[in-house]
Each structure stands twice: as C-alpha cells, then as structure tokens.
C-alpha cells in the first residue's frame, strides 16, 4: 500500500483523508499489538503463518478504515487480532488446498436444539454457515445471511456462507445491530451458537459505524452520535489540525475539516440526503443498468456515471434515456470522441474511468469539462464494472470527484489477485449479492447450458506441445489445435443452421482470433478495431440476418451489450480467471423468449449455450477447472462433451 504520512496534502480528497486517519491509528496499533497478535494466533489453534508484512498492513488498513475508530483500546486490539486471525485462516485454507489434505473440523459437540428440523441452518465456530434451501424459513434466512455473510457457494439444496469482518461491517452499515445479528442467527440455527462465533460477531461489529464522513457544500464533515469518539479524533494531531473551527458550533455531534484551515465550518444542512455507499453484485442481464438508473432517479441529483469503455458509455447514456424521464440535453457523454459540454444546473455525465483518471496533458476542451466535474458536488457516483478497475485508478477517480454517495456495480466480485477487498474501503461494503440460481428459477435471467468440450490434441500438435523448446508456444499450440478448430466450426454451423442462434466466439489469443475468423469468414472485434467499425459490426449482428456469428477478443468480456446473442463459444481464455468466465457467460444471460417456455420442463428449458473448448491433456484442462469454479459455486454445472469429434464426423457425412 502507498504510505501516506501526515505530510500528504489533504487535497487528495476523501479517500486519502480516510486512509490518512486510519494509517495513523494503524501505526500505533501495529506497535502496540504485535505481541498480542502472535499469541492470539496460537490461542485460536490456527497456524499463525508468517505474513508478508504488506498483507497484514493491507488487512489492517482496511479494518481500520472500516471501523474508523474504536471505543477503547482493549476493544480495538481485540478487533485487530480477530482480523488477523481471519486472514491467517484464509492463508491456511489456501495451504490446505495445495496439499489436498482435508482440514477436518469437528463440531459434533454442538448441542442440537429439540426442534432443529424446523430451523434452517448450522453455524460453525470458524464462521462457516450451512443453509438448507428447502427449509420453510429459507427465504427469511437467505435475506438475513446475504446481509451478514459472504456467500461461498449456492447450488440447489445447500448454501454455504462465511462470516467475515467485511461482511459484518456491511451488515452494520445497513443498520443491523450486533444483538439483532446474534439473536436472529441463534433463532435460525439448529444448534446453539458456538461461543466463538458470538465473540467474533461482537468483535467485528462493536466498533463499526460510529463515525460518518459527510459531504456538505463541498466540505467534509465528521459526524458521530458519540461525543467521546469525536473528542478522541480531535486529539489526533493530523485530524486536529485539519479541523476548521476550534469551536464545535453545532454541539458535540460534528466538526468540519476541509482543504484549507482558513475556511470556516459551514452550517448544518439537513437537506442533504445521506445515502449509503456500497457495491451491488448482480449477474449480467439481471438489470444492473436499471439499478444504476433508478438509484440516480431516487437520489434526484446530478450523477456522474463511470464506465469502462466508449461503447459502454454510449450504452449507459442510452439506458438513462430509456429508463428515466431526463431530457436528452441533460445527459452528456464525455469520451475521447465525443465531448459534450455540460449545460444547466443538473444532469448526468457519462464517461470512462480513463478519461477522469488521465494524468497527461488534456485538450483545452476536456480540461474544462474535467474542471467542471471536479468542482461539482455530485449526488451520485455510479461506477460500472468495478471489478475491472485497478485500485489506484479508483483512488484517483474518487479523489477528483466528490459525491454524497458512491454506488459500485458488478457481476463478479472475484479477482484472481484478491485485490477485490480493496473495493471495500474505496467504495463501501457489498450491499447486495443476488443468487444466480434463484434468478434463473424466477425466469429473470437465461437458463444456460454450460459445456466443456474436450478436443483431443492431434498427434502432430501434441508432439510439438511436449517439446521443451516450444514451452513458450504452448498456448498457441493448444488454441490452434486443429480438432478444436473443427469442433468450433461444427458448433457454429450447428447453431446457425439448426437453431438460428446468434453466436459470439471469444478468443483471448489475437493470433487465434484472426486465424479462426478469417478461415470461417466471420467479422471480428478486437482492441484495434475503431469505435465506428465496432458499432457497425455490432449493429449488423443485432439486426442483420447475414451476420450471426462474431469473433471477439477480450474487449468483449465486459459491458458490451449484445442482448441478441445466446451462444458463446470460447476458444481461448485468460489462464484460470474465474471472473472472465463469469463475465463471458454474462453476455448471454439476458433472458429471451417467453417465460413459460424457459421454465423447467418448458419446450426451451435451455435456450442459451456456453461452450468452452478445451484441448485435452494440456494446461488448458487445469485452467478450465479453475475458471469454472465461480460459476460452479453459483450452482451452474458444466457438462463434459468428450466425444464431440464423433458428431463432427457424423455430420460431415
């Protein structure tokens, strides 16, 4: 993490200010608690692994950031330890996975309640929760668990959740109190709650939510109903200095800090709504854009909407026009190609992360627009696809823009580098995560048949693959495997001719993308394709009868809206990325056809198909298993088609 000392200028804005506060606390705590941490790890019987110091720092940083302030020192140290214990456990989990050695957790001693059959869940001392989906109390239990815990996997009959500090912070931030959490959990549990879990909930929630940072008239206020907390904060050197008026003019419930110490604290404007910031996780096609637009409508203030690329900027602008009553002239797009000036007092600006975070010299025109964005007090900062944006970019964006409320949207809150937890303190806690399977059952998103197609390597390709000198060409070899090409060709033909489907073929590997597309005479879009051409191809795909298949590189993974497509064929991918797999699946999740046809037993129970072509006996097999994990945890299953070549031959005759 970037080290922020007291010298950091406060101009960097809100996030850095928060981090600053917490760094100061962090350094102190670190010094105080190093010893305590180690012994705690031992006490819990969990292997206290040697952390890389940076990891501890990150976790502490986030914890500190989230809990903001602590009631008393003992409590505080308790929290930090719990946090460490949690992270240590995560490490240990990873280790056990590596060894393939099961970690047996024996909780048979927990006391079953007499009427346990009527209750829907089991809670384990290590934070794991099992939920029966067939329990009559499932719905209530599910709503509650999703608010307090992190879903691990949600297949049909049994869900698993983990209680984590983050998930509990999120619970507190939506207004659940510690005692409520424990009581409800206890009510739902088949056994008496393990003491460890009760302690954990206390430890994680007791200190959260005591202080609020509120934006008023472009200045930040720190508010708290607990005067002693404010006093404590004021004693801090940096915060004390940053304070604007020494007199707490509005009683003990708030004080103001600002960029400049000369400014004088403002009045208490109750007009400002105090919306909650956070992240909403919805699968693609489930209506993320609609959620974003309706959030903006609810807040009824200027909204800055950030997307990942120019195409999706256009799509967002379109969504605003479609779903809201806003006048066209109040929506402006700000991209390298279109620089629409902001007119009037309020409105929606749609732009990309890159445009805002851009550090180099800007044209005069865009400099003006950026200045406007910077000076405005935004009601809502709407951030699309938050999972793809690197943390430093976020920090920059958030420091440039000031908003009352930040709303992040994403379909998959997983990253292979686990940087996803950064989002917790950059945007806010996860507010909601939809259950994919429930959405499928409700007919809200398409019911996708997933298949892993096994393509044996041809003799010649496999011989080359095994050669040592070709170790760098391995990917090219398994992607260009002629059997895979045949399978791909067959699937395209089959779906185009037999079913009249619209097909997207994904290839990460540019060479393969071009080769396949040229050989099969299909249009393709990749990084270098111009905006105009992209739009043209997509338009032809959406409306034309002749273009039924397009080839996309990874630029198509996110936020290109192609609702017509219902078949995906994946010929190469980014190693073991679970997120990419889920994002790509998301391209075809939009429900099509009539609802009754799509339900179980209907004539089109599956009307969307996801094929992942894998060359057998190569690295791809390993990656493929890894990639599918997220979707499998959401209850999807991949059918292995191991003899597709047989069909290929059959149809060739």
């Amino acid at each position: 993490p970037t080290r922020l000392g007291p010298k950091t200028t406060l101009e960097e804005g809100v996030t850095d200010l928060q981090i600053l506060v917490h760094h100061i606390l962090l350094y102190r705590q670190n010094n105080e608690n190093t010893k305590a941490k180690l012994t705690q790890g031992d006490n819990k019987g969990r292997p206290s692994k040697k952390h890389k110091s940076s990891k501890v720092l990150i976790s502490n940083l986030m914890l500190c950031n989230l809990m903001l302030l602590c009631k008393d020192d003992r409590h505080r140290s308790g929290m930090i330890e719990d946090g460490n214990a949690y992270f240590a456990r995560e490490d240990a989990d990873e280790d056990s996975n590596l060894d393939g050695e099961p970690k047996k957790r024996d909780f048979t001693k927990l006391e079953l309640k007499l009427d346990h059959t009527n209750r829907p869940l089991w809670a384990c001392a290590d934070g794991r929760i099992f939920l029966e989906t067939f329990s009559p109390l499932y719905k209530q239990a599910y709503d509650f668990l999703i608010a307090i815990a992190e879903p691990v996997c949600r297949p049909e009959s049994m869900h698993e959740y983990n209680l984590t500090p983050h998930s509990l912070y999120a619970a507190v931030s939506v207004g659940l109190e510690t005692e409520t959490i424990i009581t409800v959990l206890n009510k739902l549990s088949k056994t008496k709650l393990p003491k460890e879990m009760i302690d954990f909930i206390h430890g994680s929630t007791a200190n959260y939510g005591k202080v609020k940072l509120v934006l008023k008239k472009n200045r930040y206020f720190i508010e708290s109903p607990f005067p002693e907390v404010l006093k404590k904060l004021l004693k801090d050197e940096v915060i004390g200095k940053a304070r604007i008026s020494t007199e707490t003019a509005h009683g003990a419930d708030g004080f103001t800090i600002s960029k400049s110490l000369n400014e004088i604290g403002g009045g208490h404007d109750d007009l400002l709504s105090r919306a909650r910031s956070g992240i909403i996780v919805l699968p693609c096609g489930a209506g993320k854009s609609l959620v974003g637009v309706s959030a903006a409508c609810r807040i009824k203030k200027s909204c800055l909407c950030l997307a990942t690329n120019a195409v999706s900027v256009d799509q967002w602008a379109f969504q605003f026009k479609l779903w809201s009553t806003i006048k066209d002239e109040h929506i402006c797009r700000f991209t390298s190609d279109s620089k629409e000036r902001f007119r009037g007092n309020v409105g929606v600006v749609v732009t990309t992360y890159n445009m805002v975070a851009f550090g180099g010299k800007r044209s005069e025109e865009s400099e003006k627009i950026i200045e406007e964005i910077r000076n405005r007090e935004w009601g809502l900062l709407l951030m699309d696809e938050v999972h793809v944006v690197p943390a430093h970019m976020f920090r920059k964006v958030i420091s440039i823009t000031k908003s009352h409320c930040k709303l992040g949207l994403t379909a998959t809150l997983v990253r292979e580098d686990e940087r996803i937890t950064d989002l917790n303190f950059l945007i806010g806690p996860k507010l909601y995560e939809a259950n994919w399977l429930d959405l499928v059952k409700g007919g809200f998103i398409a019911n996708v048949q997933c298949a892993e197609v096994w393509c044996p390597m041809t003799k010649e390709f496999f011989a080359e693959y095994l050669k040592k000198e070709n170790s760098k060409k391995k990917q090219a070899l398994y992607v260009m495997n002629p059997n895979k090409f045949r399978a791909c060709e067959f699937l395209i033909q089959f779906h185009e001719r037999e079913r009249g489907d619209k097909i997207i073929v994904f290839a990460d590997n540019l060479f393969a993308l071009t080769e396949y597309a040229m050989k099969l005479r299909k249009p393709m879009i990749y990084g270098a394709t111009s905006h105009v051409e992209r739009t043209k191809i997509l338009e032809a795909f959406k409306t034309g009868k002749d273009v039924n298949t397009i080839f996309l590189s990874k630029v198509g993974d996110n936020s290109i809206d192609i609702p017509e497509a219902n078949v995906i064929i994946q010929i190469s991918s980014h190693a073991g990325s679970r997120r990419q797999e889920a994002q790509r699946l998301g391209r075809i999740l939009r429900a099509k056809g009539r609802l009754e046809d799509r339900m179980a037993g209907g004539k089109e129970e599956y009307n969307a198909f996801f094929y992942s072509l894998v060359s057998t006996d190569t690295q791809e097999m390993y990656y493929s298993t890894k990639r599918q994990q997220f979707l499998i945890d959401q209850g999807y299953s991949f059918k292995v088609l191991s003899c597709i070549l047989w069909f290929v031959d059959l149809f060739a005759i």
């Binding site: 393939g100 099961p102 970690k103 047996k104 957790r105 024996d106 909780f107 048979t108 001693k109 927990l110 006391e111 079953l112 346990h116 089991w122 384990c124 794991r128 099992f130 067939f134 996997c153 297949p155 049909e156 009959s157 049994m158 698993e160 088949k190 056994t191 499998i632 945890d633 209850g635 999807y636 299953s637 991949f638 059918k639 292995v640 191991s642």
Partner: protein, 471 residues
Amino acid sequence: MPQVRIIAKNFIDMVASLPAVKLDMLYANPFICEAILRSLPPLAKKYVLQMLYIDAPVPAKSMEEWVLPDGLSKHRVAIDRLIQLRVLTETVDRKKETSYEMNQKFQLNLQKQLIYGGVLPRESMPSNSVMLPSLEELEMYALEQWEVCTFPAASYQLQPSGKVNKLQFFNDEGFPTWPLESKVFHFIIEKEGSRLTEYGFQFLLMDTNAQLWYIVREYIANAEERGVDPASIISFLLELSFHEIGQAYNLNTLNEVQQSTIKDLADLGLVKLQQGRKESWFLPTKLATTLSVCLSDTSTRRQGYVVVETNFRLYAYTTSKLHCEIMRLFARVEYQLPNLIVGAINKESLYNAFENGITADQARFFFFFFFIILFLQQNAHPRVAEKTPTVPENVTDQIRLWESDLNRIEMSPAQLYDEFPSKVNSKDLFEAACDYAREYGALLWEDSKKMQLVVKSELHNEMREYLRRQK
C-alpha cells in the same frame, strides 16, 4: 465383463438353487409359501393366484393366450421363475404338448395361508408381563448393533498400519465367537487384516438391507458346516419376518436350532434378547421384519441421507459414525456437525481410496466407481430423491471420466534393449530382435533410429537367449 460376486438381492435365487427335496420341505411352511408369493414378479404372482384353485395341469398354449403378444417376454420370465422355484412343474405329454401344474404342497399351504391367515407357531407374550422398549428405542438398538458389526470393517480402511480394532466377532485369542466369522469377514477384509478387499468396499457401500441379506446368506451357506440344515434356518428366518416388531416372544417356544440361531441374530441386531426373572424372550426389530420386504420389494429401503450438489459437495444427514467412515472412503470430509457431515468429492479423494486399499486392476476400478455412484444414488436424501437424476449428471459423468482416466494407462513390466552394435549388419540384428518380440506379441515400443526396443518382461529370458544366439 468382470464377474460380479456380490449380488445382494438374490436370496430367492438361493432358495431356488436348493435341491428339490429341500424346496418341497420348505413349502411345508405356509409362511414360506407366502414369502415366495410376495417375491415373485407381478405377472408370476398373477399366475399363481389364477391357478391357485386349479388342480389339473394347464396347457402352455392356453396360458400364452392370457397375455398380449408384446407381453410374451414377461410371460417367459414369469414361467421360468415359477419352474425354477418348483412352484410349477412342466410336463410334456405324448402329443408333445407342454402343460404346467402347480406344486401341490405349495398350493395347499398357500390356500390355507390366504384363507385362514397365518398363525405363528408362538404367540406374543402379554404386554403386562414384560417391560417392552418403545419402537424408537428398539430401532436405535437395531441400528447400533448393526453398526457395531460393520464399523470395524470401515475402520480397517483408515488404519493402514494393520493395527485394527478387534472385531466383535473374534474373542481375545482371535477365535471366532460367531459362526459367521471368517467366511464373511475374510471376504470383506483381506487375510492380513490391514485393508479392505474390493468386495469389502462394495459391502460397505451397500444399503443396510443388502448388507443384511449378504451376511444372512453367508450364514445360511455355512449352516451345513455347523451341522445345521440350511432349510430350517431359511424357514425360521422367513417365519421371523412375519413376527410383529417390538412384541415379546418367549424363547421357550423355539427349538434347539432356533434358539442358537436367535442368539446369532441378536448380535446382528435382528432381534433383541431380554431376560425376566423366570423367562427369557426376544423382540424382533425392524431389521428382522424387513427380511421379507427385501425379498419382494427392493424400493422400500431405509430413508436416504446424502445430498450431492453440482459443485461436488456432499452433505450427509447422519449422526452415525459408520456413515462418516463410509464417506471418508471416497470423499474429503470437511465439517462434522451434530447431525450433518459436509464433504467434497474430488479426483484425489477417489484415487486415495486405491492407494490405501484396493490394488490397481481395471475390473476393480470399474466396481469401485460403479458402486460409489450406486451408493450415492441409493442413499439420496428424500429432498433430492424425487428429482431425476438424484445425483447431478455432471457429478456422475465426472466420476466416470475419472474412472476412465485411470484406464488410459496400462502398466506392464518391461525391459529396454539398447546399444545394438553399430556395425553394418547390426541393423539386421535390431530388426530381427524386433521381429522376434513381435512374433510373441511382446513388443511394446521400438525406435529404429536410436536402435532401442522395449519388450514385456515375461519374454526377457527368451529374448536374452535369442540375442545371444544371434551373436
């Protein structure tokens, strides 16, 4: 196709294989007649009832007219079964016309049984004279007792050192205390006592009823060695299944053979023995009464307890240690809760089973994977049992794929022959060596450039001799 040694539900086959005299003796007992009737395929059942009061032989031709043309194969099966069991006898007259007649003893006894109802040779003791356990208690007792029997077999798997718990069936000196003894358990556990045989695996994965049948069958098969007539045990067991669960029956109503048998059955949890001040009595448990259920209806079995999810996670609703051990045979147990075991199936967990227990052999792989899938299907929790398939398709597919993965490589001991002299004519020597090995079907691999060949070990001596001669 490998030979299937355990066919769990073939008790009737065993009855059918008894010599004619023994069979006729069995039919002296009306209860056996009823049990046999229950066991028959539906069409055969109908024939028996249809012919119950016909004294004369029925021509085969007129019987064939009873069924529609497309039911003819079922008709054959039914007739075959009835002849096998000597319920019907086949006669061919001078005109070469076949006709069937019912076994008279069977017919009479079945008539009696159906008209008057079965009267057991003993009546239950009045409930005020004895303290009866509740039905739940009795069922608990039966299951516990049964697990005590099978649990050691499961734990064998987990103690690779060969240090195992003494079986319930062996006394301190290692001598069998129960007539079943070695026959059954040598079958399940290899003689060295350190690991399960593949049949042991199958045994553990069978449901309780199938296991019960299996043991009882061995028990009957061994009866003769103990100087007991198997038919008398069969008849007693069948009779027992008509007793009422949880009622007390006085031990003094039993003959000598039955008294010794009932003690063995108590070990298995089929009956509970109790002793009063003056008298002793036995209480049949559910296990005993399901004996006859096993005979006829394979679909009524104990409620399943396993849920398998599409993500290969396994949830077993059970409090039984035995079940937990069984899970461990092929899954990674992750959490144990008071009434739930959480685990996951993966390639490693399945392959581990081989490393610990079963030696690599294709036929055994086949059994192992086959039985695991069968086990998961048969023990499906009621919540998922209604669904088809009960075990997600992708899981069964994957298990089969893992299985076929094991079959991709075949190992055979071999020898590498190298460094053929690089003279002009040495090429011929190499070629000749290859031809020689090929002739015996032992050539596994050759590389004519490097002049290397690999030959099955079994030909090594001959090969060496051959090469020496060529020089």
